[in-house]
């Protein structure tokens, strides 16, 4: 059935509010980022100097920026792999019909409700070398008291763990919803044919979950690139020695601490292009293998 609008302008009129909001808060700032990326600018644009592609050339020849890119990829990899694996495992457990399942499920979603600043502060308390619970337990049991946020490797580990934990709730909700949609008869039929639970999981559950997993893959990727900013700001401030200085944090430092608006705009353009690229790439490759059957 085909529905018709009364005239050509009506759909535009209906779209107008959305277009206005998007234009003001999305397209205009994006366009401004593009134009500012060719400037050297200070004081939020009170002073500017046209420098052409200098910002881009400097970024791509700066060992620190390339390092920052590498750190971002490491973070994204860690958060996607561990985040999805843990949340799927927990979702499978939470999906079982046990007593109090609802309580468990609700409790699992809680971390997602916390703001990054609160989550970061909680982790900082837990891992505080002087007063933290973690170090107290470690010292009492195995006699070590590591300095979590001042050693480079431990800091990376700590921030990735906190980021994975923080996003668990979100992933679990989607995996649980996906699991509830796996038809019971199919699994039952497979069981009768002699398939074990392991085989059922790999051959039936996982393929049927793939649309959810694919969606979460992209969301976690975006989260890893943009969402962990708050945690890093509270936990490590990009340190020690740039070990947790991911692209978005470097951008924040240049814009809001160093007052380098042109340089920061160039970085936001690079991030923009990267995210567009990732999404296209993923839709092309993974998209084909995703099973949307229903």
């Amino acid at each position: 059935m085909e529905s018709k609008f009364p005239n050509r302008f009506f759909p535009l009129l209906v779209l107008l509010p959305t277009l206005l909001v998007c234009g003001m808060f999305l397209y205009y700032p994006v366009a401004q980022s593009f134009s500012w990326s060719l400037l050297r600018a200070a004081f939020m644009g009170l002073r500017t100097l046209y420098v052409g592609t200098q910002n881009y050339v400097r970024l791509f020849t700066s060992p620190d920026y390339l390092h920052s890119m590498w750190v971002s990829i490491l973070f994204a990899g860690g958060i996607v792999i561990f985040g999805l694996a843990f949340s799927l495992a927990i979702a499978l457990l939470a999906n079982r019909k046990v007593r109090g399942a609802r309580i468990y499920r609700t409790a699992l979603i809680w971390p997602y409700a916390l703001s990054p600043a609160v989550a970061g502060t909680i982790w900082l308390f837990l891992f505080n070398p002087t007063a933290g619970v973690v170090n107290y337990v470690l010292e009492r049991t195995i006699g070590i008291s590591p300095d979590w946020v001042t050693s480079q490797n431990l800091a990376v580990f700590l921030v990735i763990s906190a980021a994975v934990w923080k996003n668990l709730g979100y992933n679990i909700v989607f995996f649980l919803a996906g699991l509830q949609n796996v038809p019971g008869q199919v699994i039952e039929a497979a069981r009768i044919d002699g398939a074990g639970s392991w085989r059922c999981f790999w051959r039936i559950t996982l393929p049927l979950l793939s649309p959810t997993a694919f969606f979460l893959l992209i969301m976690n990727m975006i989260y890893a690139f943009f969402g962990v900013f708050g945690l890093i700001d509270v936990l490590t401030k990009g340190g020690p020695a740039r070990a947790t200085n991911i692209l978005i944090y470097n951008l924040y430092r240049d814009a809001f601490q160093h007052n380098k608006w042109g340089m920061a705009s160039a970085q936001s353009v690079i991030l923009f292009i990267m995210v567009v690229g990732f999404t296209l790439l993923q839709f092309r490759t993974t998209g084909r293998k995703v099973h949307y059957g229903g």
Binding site: A42, M44, L46, T150
Partner: protein, 437 residues
């Protein structure tokens, strides 16, 4: 009937005249002080409003120094800048270059408000003096001193001299650790500010062009022997486990390390005297203070004023600018100066205040305030202790802190400092070019 009408109209005229007369000059003050300091500022401004019937000041806390400066910049772009802005010392060059502020000196001349500049402590004025002219009104001023846990030092059988050396700090740290009374020797926030203080103590300018005061700085002196000496000592403390790292710019963790007696010494801002004394009282131990340590054999030149000052933005009607000038002058008049000092630990800025405090026995009651004030009074007047001016100061701090973290991560001192120098020099030159300097 006509009479009634006349009466009504006359009444209306009088009432409207009264309304006009009662209209107050509204001005705003944005500041960056949280907690009890925010309450104290509100109280001081309430008193100002009470004693200045024609003026109504609205106070707003805008977050950290950086947040406050960013908010003011955004407001200036939108044409709605606050009348009075409280900003940190290292933002001075940026604030000058933004071109939205009126110089303190000009305001005083223009509006005929009385301010006895001669009564102010020279180091506090000098920091904000650019090209011989007073740019802003000094207000919350502090510098760094050494705090020590006298009880722990006594237990380890060591004493702290009034003017300790780098070597003393190592010896005392070793003593308290080997006596088993503390886990580490000393702590201070992993912050570039302390490095800057030490550069001044050793009489070295942080940047070229007379510390950025003779013209835009284009080079940082990170390969100066003073810089190498400071960083090498810091590394030695770290490598031997004598310095506990509280984390980047983490003041509260440093305080916690010290007040929980995990370490026996702390270097921090003089504005922490109050907090530290209270914590020591509650913990049942005694806190002492000493001057900043310097390496053995080096002359002591003194410290740089830290903290912040008050700036007045210029694009407002005359009445508002006059009111703003009255407010900033009021904030450091003797009685407010003393109230602010006693309520926070920031310096009293006026000689008259210092005399009054001495007369009333304040320093006998609080000898730790005396250390801070003596250290400031004994500071030599020179460009190194006047403090560096640089438009890219926040970036300088980021790169110096990065370098420090690299150094105790294992990078050789010279290499880490050379790398930071290259990055900072580039930023300085870029900034100069952008300002057309």
């Amino acid at each position: 009937m006509k009479r009634v009408l006349l009466f009504v109209m006359l009444t209306l005229l009088v009432v409207s005249g009264l309304v006009v007369a009662q209209e107050k000059t509204q001005i705003t003050l944005w500041h960056a002080m949280s907690g009890t300091r925010e309450l104290l500022i509100q109280r001081m401004v309430d008193d100002f409003n009470l004693t200045h019937p024609g003026i109504e000041v609205a106070v707003e806390y805008k977050g950290s120094y950086r947040d406050t400066l960013n908010a003011a910049q955004a407001a200036a772009v939108a044409g709605d800048a606050p009348h009075v802005l409280h900003s940190f010392e290292v933002g001075t060059q940026q604030l000058l270059d933004m071109g939205i502020f009126a110089l303190a000196e000009d305001l005083i001349d223009e509006y005929g408000v009385v301010i006895p500049w001669g009564d102010y402590l020279a180091p506090a004025l000098n920091y904000y003096k650019i090209g011989g002219r007073q740019a802003s009104f000094p207000w919350n001023s502090s510098n760094s001193i050494l705090y020590y846990n006298k009880t722990l030092l006594d237990a380890a059988g060591v004493t702290m001299p009034r003017e300790p050396t780098f070597e003393d700090i190592i010896a005392i740290s070793n003593a308290v650790i080997s006596a088993g009374v503390a886990e580490g020797g000393i702590t201070w926030p992993m912050h570039s500010w302390f490095f800057e203080q030490w550069m001044a103590e050793l009489g070295a300018n942080l940047v070229n062009n007379e510390n950025g005061r003779a013209g835009y700085a284009t080079e940082i002196n990170l390969l100066d022997p003073a810089a190498i000496t400071i960083m090498s000592w810091w590394k030695e403390l770290y490598d031997k486990g004598l310095w506990i790292n509280p984390g980047r710019e983490n003041w509260s963790q440093a305080r916690q390390n010290f007040t929980t007696q995990r370490v026996a010494m702390m270097i921090s801002s003089t504005s922490d005297v109050n907090l530290t004394e209270n914590a020591a009282f509650e913990g049942g131990w005694e806190v002492g203070t000493a001057f900043m340590p310097v390496p053995l054999g080096f002359e002591r030149h003194g410290v740089v004023i830290g903290g912040g000052s008050l700036w007045v933005t210029k694009d407002h009607p005359d009445a508002e600018l006059k009111a703003a000038t009255e407010l900033v002058v009021y904030m450091s008049q003797v009685s407010q100066d003393i109230e602010w000092h006693q309520g926070t630990g920031y310096f009293a800025l006026r000689n008259t205040s210092l005399q009054a405090l001495a007369l009333e026995g304040w320093y006998e009651l609080h000898p730790n305030y005396k250390t801070a004030s003596d250290q400031l009074a004994e500071t030599q007047v020179m460009t190194a202790t006047q403090g560096a001016l640089a438009g890219v100061f926040p970036e300088i701090r980021t790169f110096i802190e990065d370098a420090a973290e690299e150094v105790y991560g294992g990078t050789p001192v010279g290499e880490a400092l050379a790398k930071a120098k290259a990055l900072i020099d580039q930023a300085l030159v870029d900034y100069k070019e952008l300002m057309g300097g």
